[in-house]
Amino acid sequence: MSLAEIHTRASRFRTQIARRNLIEYAAAALVIVVFAYIAFIVPAPFVKAGAIVLILGMLYVVSQLHQLARAAAQDEINAAADLMGFHRQELVRQRDALRGVWSWYLGPLIPGAVLFLFGAVLSAPGPLGAQLSVGFAGLGLLGAMFAAIGWLNQRAAAKLDADIAAIDRARGG
């Protein structure tokens, strides 16, 4: 590749990264707009509160995604690290993201999701007992879904831990 081509590609690379980040943030912004609209038009206070708390949770998740993307970019900068070191650094980054999935992804969405769910079922017509039954059934489903996501992530993190330990053994660390 000529130097002129390298310069052009480096510039295009920066544009691509910026565009990719924009698309990710736009997807989050869309979800936020939808829940903001719900919070605005639905009079039920718990639904309104749930939507607002969900928005706050989503903003936190986006900020954490941004941090992870910055860490990944840092790895690219360290491209001249020795191969085992680079590989280990990449595995550690992935493992930490998987292991911390409750604190940066699932956890922040739980309060809003629970509030929204019970707000929705309690504002529906019907006796309180039936409303609560539907609410707890939904809560069970939500809990099972979050637990499954959490379990799969922990399992993947444990596998990466084993890979990291193998690298440390190879390096005599």
Binding site: R9, E76, A80, A81, D82, G85, H87, A170, G172
Partner: protein, 172 residues
Amino acid sequence: MSATSEQDARYAEAAALYGAMLQRLARANEADPDRRRDLLQEMHLALWRSLAAFDGRCALSTWVYRVAHNTAATHVGRHIRINRGLVPIEAIEALADHDFSAAFESNDEIERLNALIRTLRLEDRQLLTLYLEGLDAAETGDVMGLSANAIATRLSRLKTHLARLFRETAHA
């Protein structure tokens, strides 16, 4: 000389010295011709970007090998999650020796050897391609971040295991 022109000069030197190596590495890591071309361009771009921070902490050759292999690992990892679907060397039956260097020089055997290399786990793939480039154990150790002894031991096992597989596929 400005920082950018220094970076450009270093890149020009590295590309002239190691351009052919980058092509061979792309071929050893990527079977698909379009993705191989992308990988080669990624390696050149990563090399140019990295040379802004080149501080002489290691030889230019070591620097180039590291950046090229790390870029290839990231590229391959995007298409196949690392080590999933790839085999550890222990999974390959052991048998006799084979002259891999000669195979790497012979055009009709290169693609077959590359196909085998692409089935290896990341570390083994990196080790074997560095060996095929003619780096000795100490140089390979510098690039990989392992001791020369560890490199020699792993390479010996890898060559023995791969020789068997290479011969078996030749007879198949």
